[in-house]
Symmetry: C3
Subunit: 141 residues, 3 copies
């Protein structure tokens, strides 16, 4: 049984930036040597989330529109009244989407569907420098 953890650094743009993590997660899985187990993808910080989506141009426009419907930017947020950073909606969306995702590893492959990509969604209202934690836990035989 083995735990293999890597920290990945990424730059993101303004609200919302949706980044396909396929390359990063497959690279970490390969390095881990794990054959059966679980991968965790985690984003530290309170204005971003991790989920899966079919990473295609239509949904890259639809997901921001969904976010606007769930936590509109035009609403007054008490967070902004207090801290004046204007990203109250980013915090709420991050709490809703949550920062952690787990994907099983079976026979050295992630069990994702063909049209299902793991994505970082950065809800913040400005470019950010993000660190991601990608961890694989499992057996090597």
């Amino acid at each position: 049984m083995k735990v293999h953890t890597e920290t990945i650094e990424l730059k993101t743009n303004g609200f919302p930036d949706i980044i396909d993590l396929s390359h990063q997660i497959n690279d970490v899985l390969s390095k881990s040597g794990v054959i059966n187990g679980i991968m965790t993808i985690f984003v530290p910080g309170s204005t971003a989330g991790i989920t899966t989506i079919e990473y295609e141009p239509g949904l890259l426009k639809d997901l921001p529109a969904l976010c606007e419907r769930l936590a509109p930017r035009g609403v007054t947020y008490q967070h902004d009244e207090k801290w004046h950073d204007g990203n109250g909606y980013s915090h709420l969306l991050a709490a809703l989407f949550k920062p952690s995702l787990q994907v099983p590893v079976l026979n050295s492959k992630l069990t994702l569907g063909t049209w299902q990509q793991v994505a970082l969604v950065d809800f913040d209202n400005r470019p950010r420098h993000r660190k991601l934690i990608i961890q694989v836990m499992g057996v090597e035989e």
Copy 2:
């Protein structure tokens, strides 16, 4: 330490189909032999999710109504403009609910509440053949 993974096949109906997975997860837990650890329930694909709910007839009507409020079917989605499969809202709901759930295993039992069932929610707009990944990782003593 042991990793036990099973693939379960299921047929689902149209939007949204909510399926109680209690039987399947207890069966996999029993076969795994794991006494303390974690179970992961994962659905491959980008139009379904896994969550917990009190599986009773009232909420089986309320959850679809919630979905309709979050991602209405009458809205124009860029996904549908491009691919013409009419399930843009299904993709958005799946990204929001997410495809993975973890439940701790303690003394050979899942730590779910009495009225808390693990459910597959298929948000797609047509019947689907789904595969679920149910994995138990932990110790056998």
Copy 3:
């Protein structure tokens, strides 16, 4: 490889009660002896969830307002028509936020951001006595 699981008891107030779990999770991590691995925080029951949020007074008001927008209390829920406990919206919010959260453990520390706290959100419409399951799985060296 080790699995360390603790059950924590908590009292919560009415809708919604947002409780910072920082003290509890750090305490369990310390007792576990795990250096690299994963922590799972899980709430049994179908009217509460676990997420992360910047635990500050503004967002403690904004998150309830988000919940009211997602699943308004004034709407008729079939759950309430059948069971008359008036917490249909609590069940829906719990299904959306989900009861489980995973945070990687790296070099004996949780990989949370500085302004990112793990929180229990109790969506129920009355005070509850809650049990939380906090589990750490990983290696001790």
